[in-house]
């Protein structure tokens, strides 16, 4: 498909997901009313927090640690690339792979004794969980820049910082973005686990729904999370397109 056509498709997808999301969040009370017609005996749960507040909390809990992780990992990855030895680099790559297999529930559980209940332990867990894959992909992406390109850059008289910012980072970005994509999507869904340790967000209706066997309640938390994750994913579709366009 020609590039412009693909770009258009990506925008159609993004808009469709965003529209569904807004419809669900603000039209939930109508869905609830409709559902009530078919399932009259629903457990009476008192709504304490408005839907849009839950969504906002969820966004903060998922995005802030991921962006912080991006800043920390990208910086650390660049420092490792410029000053690190081959051993430290491969250590970072292995750590990243091991980190991805570590369950996020475990990190949340482990951080509660230190940080107490609330948003913080959850955000710390998500931060730790995002740092490793992004760091791994930063190191890999920078190392994968073709040797001829870096040699030409050096031979033309770029210093280390110029090489990093003008050549290596732009070329490593698609690989870094792939790491960020994974981290972000996992964190959007993993942020629901925070409800078990007193954090806010869309985990609250899910946990409440499970306790009371209320399917609609579970859906109330799940659907927005699903759509947010899909939307985040579609935001990265462009990054891939750019890579294939620029070789």
């Amino acid at each position: 498909m020609p590039y412009e056509g693909r770009e258009k498709m990506i925008w159609v997808r993004r808009s469709a997901i965003a529209a569904l999301f807004i419809l669900f969040v603000f039209g939930f009370k109508y869905i609830e009313a409709l559902y009530g017609l078919f399932v009259p005996q629903r457990p009476a749960i008192v709504e304490r927090t408005a839907m849009y507040v839950l969504v906002w909390q969820h966004l903060v809990i998922a995005l802030v640690p991921t962006l912080a992780a991006l800043a920390v990992s990208a910086t650390a990855g660049c420092l490792l690339h410029v000053y690190g030895s081959e051993e430290t680099k491969s250590l970072a790559v292995s750590l990243g792979s091991i980190g991805e297999t570590f369950p996020s529930v475990a990190i949340i559980a482990l951080s509660v004794p230190v940080l107490g209940y609330g948003n913080l332990p959850c955000m710390l867990a998500l931060f730790v969980y995002a740092v490793l894959p992004i760091l791994r992909n930063t190191v890999t992406g920078l190392a994968e820049v073709p040797r001829g390109v870096t040699e030409a850059a050096k031979g033309m008289g770029m210093d280390k910082l110029q090489m990093l910012f003008k050549v290596e980072l732009p070329l490593a970005w698609p690989v870094m973005a792939a790491g960020l994509r994974v981290a972000l999507i996992i964190n959007i869904s993993a942020a629901t686990l925070g409800a078990t340790v007193g954090a806010g967000g869309l985990g609250i209706p899910i946990v409440a729904g499970i306790r009371t066997y209320d399917t609609l309640m579970v859906m109330k938390g799940t659907m927005p999370v699903l759509l947010m994750a899909l939307f985040a994913d579609s935001m990265f579709a462009g990054a891939d397109g750019k890579r294939s366009r620029n070789g």
Partner: protein, 321 residues
């Protein structure tokens, strides 16, 4: 004074000596080809000039000033550098690729544009290539951009490490011819690394033959012919070197200097068109193909000239003067 003076250069990797007391002077405007078997240190030597590789001892001076006097990056910005991998930046278009060094030197945008336009004009590329990205270029086009990028800031010295090595033979020949034409106009001091004897013969003002980190011989391509009996020279250049040397001389440039009778018995004699790139080698091949004593060469003006083997010998003599 020589543009590049290399004196008693040593460089070893571990116990392996890449350069072992290498000395060479390259004159201003000269195209010096470094040739030798793989691992003879020719690339290492090239990289010592712009300090991509640090030598262990010895010295290199550019126009009398030691390269170690400069800050590494500033030295490299003043020297054109062109490698076999090309190493174009995939995320930048052709214009931006050529503009890299001028931008490092903080040229104003107007001057950069002017320079890029001028370079495109003397190359085999068109202005339509400027907004393309490297992955949209053929191998030959990418190599041309690589050469232009090295020439972008108009550096006096150009270092080229097998720049046409990865291109197919037909394209390589075109690129060599184009580069030679550009060099005749620009008169850069060029150090050109290759392992291709034909390429060396075609391009070189002088050829520096290397073996095991040492200079074996440095001479004009026709000068090396007389030294084929010397041990390594004959082995590396091969006994067919004089034949290859014929490829250096364009029949057109030599002029037919009154050789060969005009016309003559037509009959079934082999007739060759005199194209601009026709060399003495093509002429000799024609003679072999003709299985006769002469070939008929049609000049661009439409005259037929009869050339025999003794005419080639005469042309050779003229070329060597």
């Amino acid at each position: 004074m020589a543009m590049i003076s290399i004196e008693n250069l040593h460089k070893s990797y571990g116990s392996q000596a890449a350069l072992d007391g290498f000395s060479l002077e390259v004159e201003e405007g000269e195209l010096m080809v470094l040739i030798g078997p793989s691992g003879c240190g020719k690339s290492t030597l090239l990289k010592c000039v712009n300090r991509m590789v640090a030598s262990d001892s010895g010295s290199i001076a550019l126009a009398g000033r030691p390269v170690t006097d400069y800050k590494e990056e500033l030295l490299r910005r003043g020297i054109g550098y062109c490698i076999q991998e090309v190493g174009l930046f995939p995320h930048l278009d052709v214009y931006e690729n050529i503009a890299v060094v001028p931008r490092l030197l903080r040229w104003p945008e107007g001057r950069i544009r002017e320079r890029v336009d001028r370079l495109i004009a003397i190359s085999g590329l068109s202005a339509g290539h400027l907004r393309k990205h490297p992955r949209q270029l053929s191998g030959g086009e990418a190599q041309r951009v690589g050469v232009l990028r090295a020439l972008a800031s108009d550096p006096p010295v150009l270092l080229m490490d097998e720049p046409f090595g990865a291109v197919d033979p037909l394209n390589r020949h075109t690129l060599q011819a184009e580069f030679l034409k550009m060099q005749k106009e620009l008169k850069k001091t060029v150090v050109f690394v290759t392992h291709d004897v034909d390429e060396a013969i075609l391009l070189a003002d002088r050829i520096a033959l290397m073996e095991k980190g040492r200079l074996v011989a440095v001479d004009a391509p026709q000068g090396l012919e007389a030294r084929l009996d010397e041990a390594f020279i004959g082995d590396f250049l091969g006994s067919e070197y004089p034949l290859r040397l014929l490829g250096r001389y364009a029949v057109k440039e030599l002029g037919l200097c009154g050789n060969g009778a005009e016309g003559g018995p037509e009959g079934d004699a082999l007739r060759l068109e005199m194209e601009p790139g026709m060399t003495l080698k093509d002429l000799l091949s024609g003679l072999i193909r003709a299985e006769g004593d002469y070939v008929l060469v049609t000049t661009p003006e439409g005259r037929d000239i009869r050339l025999s083997f003794s005419d080639i010998k005469c042309l050779m003599k003229g070329a060597r003067r």
